[in-house]
């Protein structure tokens, strides 16, 4: 194992700090904290939690420094990313392929890693108070640390294979988070569903890795950047590669046919759900597409696929969000819609805008989930139909949720407005009416969905329920309020573009060959109008609890169930997978286990010398053994002597 630091950056005053070293620290700190918690402090809840928080804070600081270095470097657009190679596995000669495990630090990784670490930190501080009276707190923090490590690993991956490995870790961490309250049956089934779909994505990524390696003999992102357009692989081949990568990304980011796990993620505890949606698995898929964007950019059909799938996801997600009765599930579907919007943006070429959308969307979404945790705990229900009237009671949280909803809806000057505006600008620049219509509709409906949530929870009267005293509702305080306030501030300011004229967030993360969209005033107006209009409509409809006509009830039911896509998957699983697994289990029980039992029984027989020592006659056996050795040796000598004699 060799530890080499290869710094390819020009020397300047801010280059003495290597961003990759900081990135490596940021990556390893959660892992070290996890090891410490599991090895030493597993018996103490408080110490484990604080260790997790402190180490994540350190990781967040490292990520922030990485961002600062990336921002401050004057040539950050052209500088090649620095590597930290800490393992080299070679097969054969020096010209053979070397698999380098490294840490890649460039603007894309910097932005996303900062998002991940900061959200993880805030979620952990929130959980200090939220999970205080629960069992399994140490397990929760361990899983959060593991998830942070896995996400940072994805973010800092240098090649497809490393990303595959960390994708698998993200799958596992998602499963652990969703299934944290494993005593609940729905949580276990939701976790299993998430695991299966995510693992399906990992398999697709494995196939993509194999195919890419087979055709290009190279897996490193940076080394591959020029190869896609080189013409070594046909257009069909590129499309197949991009389909495989897209399947992996779709599984992680809940794009249309692979979205069914996202509603189940509402089973996770609120802080874990916040992490998954804003900086966890949901972000991984979009990040993969952004990293592999050279591949997609080289194949116009792939870009079209992205746009279509993303648009479909965005529209469906927001439609289904409007008909959910469960608070967390409603928020989850709005996440699905936003992820679809990000993928759509990547499809139409708004690369920087998509990543910016990822950045700006994380804060209000995390804030919504954390607030949902408070709301659900205070109201002791998850159903929106039973909520209401919290405006008077949660005097601090109400402002935070209002900010989150406005920010998520895209109302200026809050965060997602700026990113959605840029996406629409790119669509306008392309002149594609479908994209323009979809983006506008998604903004409108998205604003509706979010304000619907706000209206149903905060306005009106608290529904009377048996054994529930609305006067005992207390607002969130202390750490809960602190973390949510931080997220609210982030939702407010994260849209700011042009900090002292040096960095435009859209221009910060770029892809060569993809033009930056200018921000049309038209686009800004359209987005603002759509968002405000949607918010107003939703407020009017839902604040007054306008009852929906009974004729629409089947439609509502269908939408609420996500158009039964999930049900279709379950039927397919039972019909197809079950017989196959029965056959496989027969083979395993009879054939494989039988063979192993045979080996085990024979070992057990040998291990009881009482039995066979009384039956064997050792001495003749030994004599025969040595006689055989002598005979074999004699033969060998004669043969060897003959050979040596011949060769002289």
């Amino acid at each position: 194992m060799t530890l080499t630091l290869l710094a390819a950056a020009p020397k300047g005053p801010l280059d003495t700090w290597s961003p990759t070293l900081l990135a490596l620290f940021a990556l390893l700190l959660p892992l070290i904290a996890l090891v410490i918690v599991l090895a030493f402090t597993i018996d103490s809840r408080r110490v484990s939690a604080w260790i997790a928080v402190i180490f994540t804070l350190a990781a967040a600081i490292c990520a922030l420094l990485v961002v600062a270095i990336e921002v401050a470097h004057p040539l950050h657009l052209e500088r090649p990313a620095t590597f930290l190679t800490f393992f080299t596995g070679q097969s054969g000669s020096a010209q053979e392929f070397t698999l380098q495990w490294g840490v890649l630090s460039d603007p894309l990784a910097a932005v996303v890693s900062f998002t991940v670490t900061l959200v993880s930190l805030l979620v952990q501080i929130y959980a200090l108070a939220f999970m205080r009276r629960e069992d399994g707190v140490v397990r929760f923090y361990s899983v959060l640390l593991f998830a942070t490590f896995a996400m940072l690993g994805v973010t800092f991956s240098t090649n497809y294979f490393e990303m595959l490995l960390f994708f698998g870790l993200v799958t596992l961490s998602t499963y652990l988070m969703i299934g944290h309250w494993w005593q609940r049956e729905e949580a276990v089934s939701a976790a299993s569903r998430a695991f299966i779909i995510s693992a399906l994505g990992d398999v697709a990524l494995l196939a993509a890795v194999a195919y890419i390696y087979f055709r290009y003999n190279e897996l490193n992102f940076q080394a591959l950047t020029g190869h896609y357009t080189g013409g070594r692989v046909s257009a069909n081949g590129l499309f197949v590669m991009s389909i495989l990568v897209f399947i992996a990304a779709a599984a992680k980011s809940a794009q249309f046919p692979l979205h069914v796990w996202l509603s189940g993620s509402a089973q996770a505890p609120a802080p874990a759900a916040a992490l998954i949606h804003s900086a966890g698995s949901a972000v991984c898929g979009v990040y993969l597409i952004a990293r592999a964007y050279g591949l997609f950019h080289a194949s116009p059909r792939a870009l079209a696929l992205l746009a279509i799938a993303g648009g479909l996801t965005a529209v469906l997600g927001v439609l289904w969000a409007l008909f959910q009765d469960n608070l967390k599930r409603a928020i989850a579907y709005t996440t699905m819609s936003e992820l679809g919007l990000m993928v759509l943006a990547l499809g139409i070429g708004a690369y920087g805008a998509s990543i910016f959308e990822l950045f700006t969307h994380a804060w209000p979404k995390a804030l919504l989930f954390l607030a949902a945790g408070v709301i659900i705990r205070e109201l002791r229900t998850e159903r929106l139909a039973e909520m209401g009237g919290l405006w008077r009671r949660l005097r601090f949280t109400r402002w935070l949720v209002l900010i989150a909803v406005l920010a998520g809806a895209g109302i200026p000057p809050f965060s997602t407005f700026w990113s959605k505006d840029t996406i629409l600008s790119k669509a306008l620049a392309l002149g594609s009416p479908l994209a323009i219509a979809v983006i506008t509709a998604v903004t409108f409906l998205g604003a509706m969905a979010l304000v619907r949530i706000f209206a149903l929870v905060f306005t009106g009267e608290t529904a009377r329920r048996r054994r529930f005293e609305p006067d005992r509702i207390r607002d969130a305080g202390g750490r809960l309020a602190f973390t949510m306030a931080v997220l609210a501030i982030a939702s407010l300011v994260s849209g700011i573009r042009g900090f002292r004229g040096r960095t435009d967030p859209i221009a910060f993360v770029t892809f060569p060959g993809v033009s930056l969209p200018n921000s049309h005033l038209v686009a800004a107006d359209v987005i603002a109008a759509a968002a405000v209009l949607g918010a107003a409509v939703a407020f009017v409809v839902y604040a007054r609890r306008v009852p929906s006509p009974a004729a629409l009830q089947p439609v509502r039911h269908a939408m609420g169930e996500g158009l039964f896509v999930d049900r279709a998957y379950q039927l397919a699983a039972v019909g197809i997978v079950l017989p196959v697994s029965r056959a496989a289990s027969w083979v395993e029980t009879r054939v494989i286990d039988g063979a192993l039992d045979l080996v085990g029984d024979s070992i057990e027989f040998v291990g009881q010398p009482r039995r066979w020592l009384g039956e064997f006659r050792i001495r003749p056996l030994l004599i025969g053994f040595f006689a055989g050795v002598v005979a074999l040796g004699a033969i060998a000598i004669v043969l060897a002597g003959g050979i040596i004699g011949k060769s002289g």
Partner: protein, 188 residues
């Protein structure tokens, strides 16, 4: 500490040759004693002495690391295991193995055959020597670079053996079969 030559030359310095001869004679003598003695405890003692003599032989012709391991690890672990077993079972009394059996003759014949075999090999062949006389590599790098898996397995095995011998030494006497037999861990 005798120098280890770089070329496959026999040892020619007379004191060292005498040392090697002496060690070999003592080694064979103590090995014979070990297998011929009736008292098991003495046999174990002679065995330990032979292992120490093997280590002394290694002093002349092998890297010092091997000497150290032979002495510190193999010898002590083996002796500890043996003495532990003896302590647990017979209580270090005289062994109760019976008188000579006719099989001794057959055993002697087998041993003579093996010896003769190697004698024939030595007499009839001259092994090819000297490929290329390259760099001298120390034992440590050889172990870690060329045989890392073997080194790992070795470490695990030695650790287990050390652990086992320690456990055996501190374990109480084995239960006698007259107490009803059966292992202590079986519950009815």
């Amino acid at each position: 500490m005798p120098l280890i030559g770089a070329l496959p030359q026999p040892i020619t310095s007379t004191p060292l040759v005498f040392f090697v001869y002496l060690v070999l004679i003592l080694l064979l003598g103590s090995a014979l004693a070990s297998v011929l003695l009736r008292n098991t405890l003495y046999a174990v003692g002679a065995f330990a002495a032979s292992m120490v003599l093997v280590a002394l032989l290694y002093l002349a012709i092998a890297p010092f690391l091997l000497v150290a391991i032979q002495l510190l690890v193999f010898t002590t672990v083996s002796a500890a295991l043996l003495i532990g077993l003896l302590r647990a079972t017979t209580g270090l009394r005289t062994s109760s193995v019976g008188r000579l059996s006719p099989q001794w003759i057959i055993g002697a014949a087998v041993s003579a055959a093996v010896l003769a075999l190697v004698g024939v090999v030595l007499g009839a062949t001259s092994w090819p020597t000297g490929f290329c006389c390259g760099i001298i590599v120390g034992l440590g790098p050889v172990l870690t670079n060329i045989y890392p898996v073997g080194l790992a397995v070795l470490a695990v095995i030695l650790a287990s053996a050390a652990l086992g011998s320690g456990l055996l030494l501190i374990a109480p006497t084995l239960p006698s079969p007259a107490r009803g037999g059966g292992s202590r861990t079986v519950r009815r």
